[in-house]
């Protein structure tokens, strides 16, 4: 059973998955909340999505009927818990079209990228080697590389973006050379919604023998992701950005790396032989999962994957993009409002309102029940490039509606008037 795979049935035929935002919405208890006396309009999905009932229930159900020690001991409950944990790995693998043996459970994207930078970065990088990142990167795909370069005497290079917020591919191509060991890029920008052409970057990197590390925080919630097609070496995800629990995620490692890399953490569950004289590590993803794992997190992640497979995702994407377009069009009619990012990106819209600071704008929106992100969004290099201290971001999920877009636009208009 592969819950993430696209339905083989044609749209409209019996058994085809449907998509209706209201039906999706009804599955999210949190979306019924009231904030500041107004119905919650949740447009901070790029920070964290809400969880559907099925994910909530999956965790409760696990705690109620299958909680036990994973991969340890011989009793039946331990086996049951282990089975749940490992079937969650299979589900998480299917979401990325990867093999379960290539999926390491992590705390999330930050944890996964730090693991790669420690294990892979420290092993691979030497004096004068180069790591290429981009101006789009979240601090979690920027700082681990900066620190790895500092440790190893390597050089960090930052590929620029164009004025429309796309990655400047010519500049990147020119920057990648025979000293480049690693190219680390985001799949989707959490600020601009830019979708980065990962396959193209992989072929550029392959030309010089460099590895490609992808920050997938913002992608699987919006796009189909196929790590084999992308051809990258590492791909990190966080469950909480795609309707699962916080504090759990996955790191895909291309098969050639799984058994070769030195773990960054040592302890229980990853050891073959341990003695003061000699210690060896097991092979497979468990090698990188020292300590008792976050089993309930993995169970919730699997339920989130099943949720993503329960509706027509292409239709959901079309809906999300229609909402994004409505926001962009609406802002176009508000004096002094400005949208940052390319027109055809993921449904993430960063908003500037001239003369109004991002935090003031977000406070006005909050008073209307509209939850958005304001600040540098963990992308200080990108803010510097855009020439702004901070932005206000609306990010969309399939459960958002046109009425919510209207609420957002009304609140932005109100902010414009208040600060006029």
């Amino acid at each position: 059973m592969n819950p993430a795979r696209q339905p083989s049935t044609a749209p409209g035929s019996p058994g085809a998955l449907a998509f209706d935002p209201q039906t999706i919405r009804a599955q999210f208890p949190m979306l019924g909340a009231t904030m500041n006396g107004k119905p919650l309009v949740y447009l901070d999905n790029a920070a964290t999505t809400q969880r559907p009932r099925a994910v909530i229930d999956s965790v409760v159900e696990h705690w109620s009927s299958s909680n036990g020690p994973v991969s340890r001991g011989v009793h039946a409950l331990g086996s049951l818990a282990t089975e749940k944990y490992e079937s969650a790995r299979t589900a998480a693998a299917a979401l990325l079209n990867a093999e379960p043996e290539t999926i390491v459970f992590t705390k999330g994207v930050t944890d996964g990228l730090n693991l790669v930078a420690r294990s892979f970065g420290d092993e691979l990088l030497g004096e004068g080697d180069e790591v290429v990142v981009t101006e789009l990167e979240h601090h979690s795909n920027f700082l681990p590389w900066r620190q790895a370069c500092l440790r190893r005497g390597a050089v960090l290079r930052v590929a620029p973006i164009t004025d429309t917020g796309e990655l400047d591919m010519d500049a990147l191509r020119a920057m990648v050379n025979e000293r480049t060991r690693i190219v680390a890029v985001t799949h989707v920008s959490n600020v601009l919604g830019t979708v980065v052409p990962v396959s193209e970057i992989v072929s550029i990197a392959r030309g010089v023998g460099a590895a490609v590390v992808v920050d997938g925080a913002q992608a699987p919630g919006h796009l189909p992701v196929d790590v084999q097609r992308l051809g990258c070496d590492f791909y990190a995800t966080s469950a909480h950005k795609m309707f699962g629990p916080a504090g759990v995620g996955t790191l895909f490692m291309a098969p050639q790396w799984v058994d070769r890399l030195e773990p960054a953490q040592f302890g229980g569950g990853m050891v073959e032989l341990a003695s003061a004289e000699e210690s060896t590590w097991i092979t497979g993803p468990h090698r990188f999962e020292a300590g008792t794992p976050n089993t309930e997190g993995a169970v919730g992640l699997a339920a989130a994957v099943a949720f993503l497979g329960s509706f027509d995702r292409a239709a959901a994407r079309a809906h999300e993009h229609a909402l994004r377009d409505a926001i962009v069009a609406g802002l176009g009619e508000i004096p002094k409002a400005r949208v940052y990012g390319p027109a055809d990106g993921a449904p993430i819209v960063s908003i500037g309102l001239e003369g109004v600071h991002a935090h003031d704008l977000a406070t006005v929106l909050d008073a209307e029940g509209v939850a958005v992100r304001a600040g540098h969004m963990c992308c200080q290099p990108l803010m510097r490039r855009l020439g702004v201290p901070a932005l206000t971001r609306a990010s969309i999920a399939p459960y958002n509606t046109h009425a919510e877009v209207e609420a957002l636009l009304g609140a932005v208009r109100r902010a414009g008037q208040l600060f006029a």
Partner: protein, 160 residues
């Protein structure tokens, strides 16, 4: 609720801040930085024999941080160190304490009192206190330099 936060007086201060810009001569300076939103203020203190001759600031940020800094320079310029320290404590109590003292509102001027509503916006309290924390450090520096009381006397909170 929103209008009681963004009162006209706050908007006026944020648009046309008082005592804004780096002075030619000053005894100490300190920077406050809010890492969450990137707001920055730099506070300059000039002392004379009676206490604080002038407080000035420069920086960029949200309406609340800018207005608070501007109102602070108005309120504290010309006060003795003891008076300024008392006003600062009362203001911080008014906007940030879990249970503010009933007299805090009376111990600050009307402009500062207009910011009391910030306390109902927990995410914004740091914006309102940013300049005041920088001031404490600048004053501590200035007094150290002039052989006055140690910086602990004016409170040495870290900025958030």
């Amino acid at each position: 609720m929103l209008e009681s936060l963004y009162q006209q007086i706050l908007l006026d201060h944020s648009r046309h801040p008082c005592h804004h810009g780096r002075p030619e001569r000053f005894d100490a300076e300190a920077e406050g930085h809010n890492p969450i939103c990137g707001d920055k203020v730099r506070v300059f203190v000039t002392l004379n024999d009676d206490g604080i001759e002038e407080v000035r600031f420069e920086g960029a940020g949200c309406a609340i941080s800018q207005a608070s800094a501007s109102m602070m320079t108005n309120a504290l310029s010309g006060l003795s160190i003891e008076e300024a320290t008392a006003v600062r404590a009362a203001f911080l109590d008014l906007v940030a304490a879990a249970e503010p003292d009933k007299t805090s509102g009376e111990r600050v001027n009307e402009e500062l009192r207009s910011m009391a509503e910030v306390r109902r916006f927990p995410a914004r309290v740091k914006c309102a206190t940013l300049a005041w924390h920088a001031l404490a450090r600048a004053l501590g520096e200035a007094l150290k330099g002039s052989g006055g009381p140690p910086s602990g006397a004016v409170g040495g909170e870290k900025t958030g």
